[in-house]
Amino acid sequence: MGLITTKASKKREEELAQIAEKSKKGKLGFGDLIIPIASGTLFIILSFAVFVPMVKSAFEYLDEIKVTKEKIEQLEKVNKEVAKLDEDQLNEDVVTARKVIPKKLLVSDLVSYLNELATSLELSISELSSGDALNAVSGPIGYSGAYDNVIKFLDDAQNVSPYMLRLQNVEISAVQTEVGEVWNISLDISGYYIAEEDEEPSIYAPFKSYMEYEDIIQVFKDKAKSLD
């Protein structure tokens, strides 16, 4: 009987302990908040340490992809345009263009050409000097001769010359001599050249085919012919 009482009281104690524990469990303790607080904190830390930089870099990648795609489009266009150019024709046209506007125009070349032109038109030289300026050879020149030849000299120098010439401050004047009326012409003349750079062109530079200017290429060809 005594054994039963001890057993019962033990059981009762256990039950009471259970009840106490249960009532404790029913209450909201710090332990219950650990997971939400920890996950919230982790989320905030991850957001600042990982997510934000990752999202930022992902958007940077997207921007880079956009730029890369634009470059691809541009290069594809360039590739297509360049492929259209016939290499032999291109080389021939480069030679022609360089004849008209050379890499370097020597003063002697320009003077020689002008003298040849004047001699062919029976003009006599009255003034000739020229020097090297920025991308041009220029100087004052003067000739004298018949009116028609003076006008032809002007026209040839401007339109027929193999070089790219510019005439400025043209003055013609008539002088009565023993032989008759002689016309003097004085002007400033500039012959252009283009100093070429050695560095390779950028493939990303805007590309325009020279074939779009066929009329000017024809002018270059006509001018270059007079040099041959």
Binding site: R12, S23, S57, N79, Y210
Partner: protein
């Protein structure tokens, strides 16, 4: 919520079991006997167990409910956190892969274009010359045409001859010459004045001498009338 229900169920079960146990131990229960006190030996009742668990109070129920909500919330927040993390990492990796793919495409095309760099260079050589030609041509005019034009106008007036013609870069011109009389000079002046190719004209000087008269004009020509073709 489940805990509450379980507790209540246990209480009910114990209560149900209570009566038959009392009956078996004490024979037929009498109304006088009532509920056994804690001091009384319970016999079989002890082995079956007595319901000592009190039903949950309102406050406890609220606590349990809160706890459960928190547990579910925690679980959900972890799931959401993992999903966001996976999403962001996935997005990042996908973007990077796309970028790498685009870059390799670009590099392939760059190589292809670089093989034709000589052609591009030659094209540029021609283009720079075309540009220069256009620049020089843009502001250039035909001196020959201007001189012929001035001679044409003077041809309309008898006895006019030019001594000199100066044409400047800005299309201003100076011309001097001889005339048999002042009347012809005034006619020439009039013709210059009404000509559409001349922007303005001034008679700078005029003089009468034994042989006739001399004159000098200054004026400006219109660019459109003489620009190079």
């Amino acid at each position: 919520m489940n805990n509450t229900e379980n507790t209540q169920q246990n209480i009910d079960t114990v209560n149900k079991n209570k009566q038959p146990v009392n009956q078996s131990v004490q024979g037929s229960p009498t109304p006088q006997q009532g509920k056994p006190t804690l001091a009384e030996p319970l016999g079989n009742q002890v082995e079956e167990g007595v319901n000592l668990i009190p039903s949950l109070t309102k406050e406890e129920k609220v606590h349990v409910k809160k706890k459960n909500t928190l547990n579910i919330g925690s679980l959900l927040s972890i799931i959401v956190l993992s999903t966001i993390a996976l999403g962001i990492v996935g997005f990042n990796i996908t973007s990077k892969m796309q970028l790498n793919s685009s870059k390799s495409n670009l590099s392939r095309i760059e190589k292809s274009v670089n093989t034709q760099i000589d052609k591009i260079e030659s094209n540029n050589i021609i283009l720079t010359r075309i540009d220069l030609y256009q620049t020089v041509k843009k502001n250039s005019f035909s001196h020959k045409e201007i001189i012929e034009f001035l001679n044409e106008v003077s041809g309309k007036v008898s006895g006019i001859s030019y001594r000199s013609i100066l044409i400047s870069e800005d299309l201003t011109f100076e011309l001097s010459g001889n005339s048999p009389d002042l009347e012809q000079i005034s006619r020439l002046w009039y013709l210059f004045g009404i000509n559409e190719s001349i922007e303005n004209i001034n008679l700078e000087s005029v003089a009468k001498n034994e042989n006739g008269a001399t004159f000098s004009f200054e004026g400006k020509l219109k660019f459109d009338s003489f620009k190079s073709q």
